[in-house]
């Protein structure tokens, strides 16, 4: 299958990015190096092309009822401009995808993982009821994320929109570098940041990308790739679909109880999830912190008293903590901070500390 390219592909090539296949796209993994890009986002700001993400519009008079039935969070609480993190589950409470729900005034926009666009659409079409119209706007929509403590001041140079007082998980329309777009106070890094949605048109995308880099030059803004995006989200304990959550995991065991609103009325998966909640989940997604040169990786066994109790779902080197960190599901009785567990790294059982998430303290909402 041919890989898709985003409208910023040539900018990435020109910047010397290492491009890799990801979810059917040829995406920048890194420009100067993951460590440098990661630290740049934590201390200054980074610019990400995340145009691979999917955007599905839900229109029609029954759009809200449809979203309420398909997602775990309570979308009735949204007002125009507000954004909500949510999940879509199957009848067994397994996660089909995690997503953002935008209230766009006249309709809703669901932002989904690139690798799940087709599956989501197929699932959603099977659940259609009443006056609901689904539009796959993924190919027509580009997405740039500006993340980091300097992101707000950088954006302020380029727009008259009130980015200064835009609260976390809110969005407004505005013009940035001549492009009319949706400015969203969201991100996947744990830093103050913005995500900019706009029509996938090469020329305006390039103008926007380069204007942002210019405006952010003095503040230290640099392009950052998927490598840094992954280490940044892992430090925050954010779940990655396909690693930490999938159709075999439910939101309660994944630590996503806060987006599972069982009181809002029935939704797909709610019966199973209510039963899970009543008896308590059997396992829990925990954070693991290791010492020395021990770096946990996806797929490594987690053990306790010589017995395998789980598997690392995401792992790697934390540039901020300068040690190995990971996440994985382990039985609830053992999932307590301070209980001794180990990660089997190439045959050696290495001590791992169970820690509460996030690994790194950050305040993206400030």
């Amino acid at each position: 299958m041919d890989l898709k390219r985003t409208v910023l592909y040539e900018q990435h090539r020109a910047a010397g990015a290492k491009l890799v296949p990801f979810a059917g796209f040829e995406m920048p993994l890194q420009y100067s190096g993951v460590l440098e890009e990661h630290r740049c986002v934590r201390s200054r700001a980074g610019l990400f092309d995340v145009s691979h993400m999917g955007e599905i519009e839900v229109r029609g008079t029954d759009a809200l009822a449809f979203i309420q039935r398909l997602t775990t969070n309570d979308a009735s609480r949204l007002t125009e401009g507000r954004v909500q993190y949510s999940a879509m589950c199957n009848g067994d409470g397994g996660i089909i995808d995690d997503l953002l729900v935008y209230h766009m005034g006249s309709h809703f926009m669901l932002v989904v993982n690139a690798g799940n666009i087709a599956t989501n659409l197929a699932w959603m079409r099977r659940q259609l009821e009443g006056d609901v119209d689904l539009v796959d706007a993924s190919d027509a929509t580009a997405l740039i994320a500006v993340q980091g403590p300097e992101s707000r001041s950088i954006l302020r140079h380029l727009t008259t929109a009130d980015v200064e007082s835009l609260p976390y998980y809110h969005s407004i329309r505005g013009t940035v570098a001549g492009t009319d777009l949706l400015i969203s106070r969201t991100g996947y890094t744990g830093e103050v940041g913005f995500e900019l949605y706009f029509p996938a048109e090469k020329k305006s995308a390039e103008t926007l990308w380069n204007s942002l880099l210019d405006a952010g030059k003095d503040a230290g803004l640099r392009p950052a790739g998927l490598g840094a995006r992954d280490t940044l989200r892992l430090e925050m304990g954010f779940c990655l679909y396909g690693n930490d959550i999938d159709h075999t995991t439910n939101p309660l065991e994944a630590g996503l109880g806060w987006i599972t609103k069982l009181g809002k009325g029935a939704f797909i998966g709610s019966e199973t999830l209510a039963a899970v909640k009543a008896r308590g989940p059997e396992r829990k997604l925990v954070g693991l912190r290791l010492d020395g040169k021990n770096v946990p990786r996806k797929g490594y066994p987690i053990t306790a008293e010589g017995r395998e109790i789980g598997t690392v779902t995401s792992g790697g080197f934390s540039p901020t903590l300068e040690r190995g960190i990971g996440m994985g599901y382990i039985p609830k009785a053992i999932a307590v901070a301070g209980k001794p567990v180990q990660v089997a790294i190439r045959g050696n059982n290495c001590e791992a500390e169970i820690v509460s998430l996030p690994f790194v303290t950050s305040r993206p909402q400030v």
Partner: protein, 126 residues
């Protein structure tokens, strides 16, 4: 991509400089580029015997881990202890300050399994 003429290479991307009975071992420029930021290098101690074709250590990069495979058999004479605190030397100078081991060769190295500059370039397709 830098592939010095005076070195020999393995298909697993290690290099060796053979000088009499001593071999100096590291990983290639291509390997460090592919691995990305290297954060830990796990090497055997002085006196350890290593065997051609077998794992002698590991390299942890931010995004992946990789085995180090011995290009020759021999005994570890010295280890680059600078990599303990500054593993990024492997990224910055893979054929110089990023060297890993010096070994005393046991017998003649199997030249057939080692690639020269041209063969290594061909192997990595560059």
């Amino acid at each position: 991509m830098n592939v010095p003429e005076n070195l020999r290479y393995t298909k697993d991307h290690e290099w060796i400089l053979i000088d009499g009975k001593t071999g100096t071992i590291g990983i290639t420029d291509y390997a460090q580029e592919e691995l990305g930021d290297i954060v830990f290098v796990e090497l055997p101690g002085q006196g350890t015997k290593i065997t051609a074709g077998e794992t002698f250590g590991t390299i942890e990069a931010v995004k992946a881990v990789s085995d180090l495979v011995a290009p020759v058999s021999g005994t570890v004479e010295s280890v680059n202890t600078d990599l303990e605190g500054t593993p990024e030397l492997v990224n910055q100078d893979p054929y110089g300050k990023g060297w890993m081991l010096k070994v005393t060769l046991s017998g003649q190295p199997d030249q057939a399994s080692l690639l020269d500059q041209g063969a290594y370039r061909k192997h990595v397709g560059k």
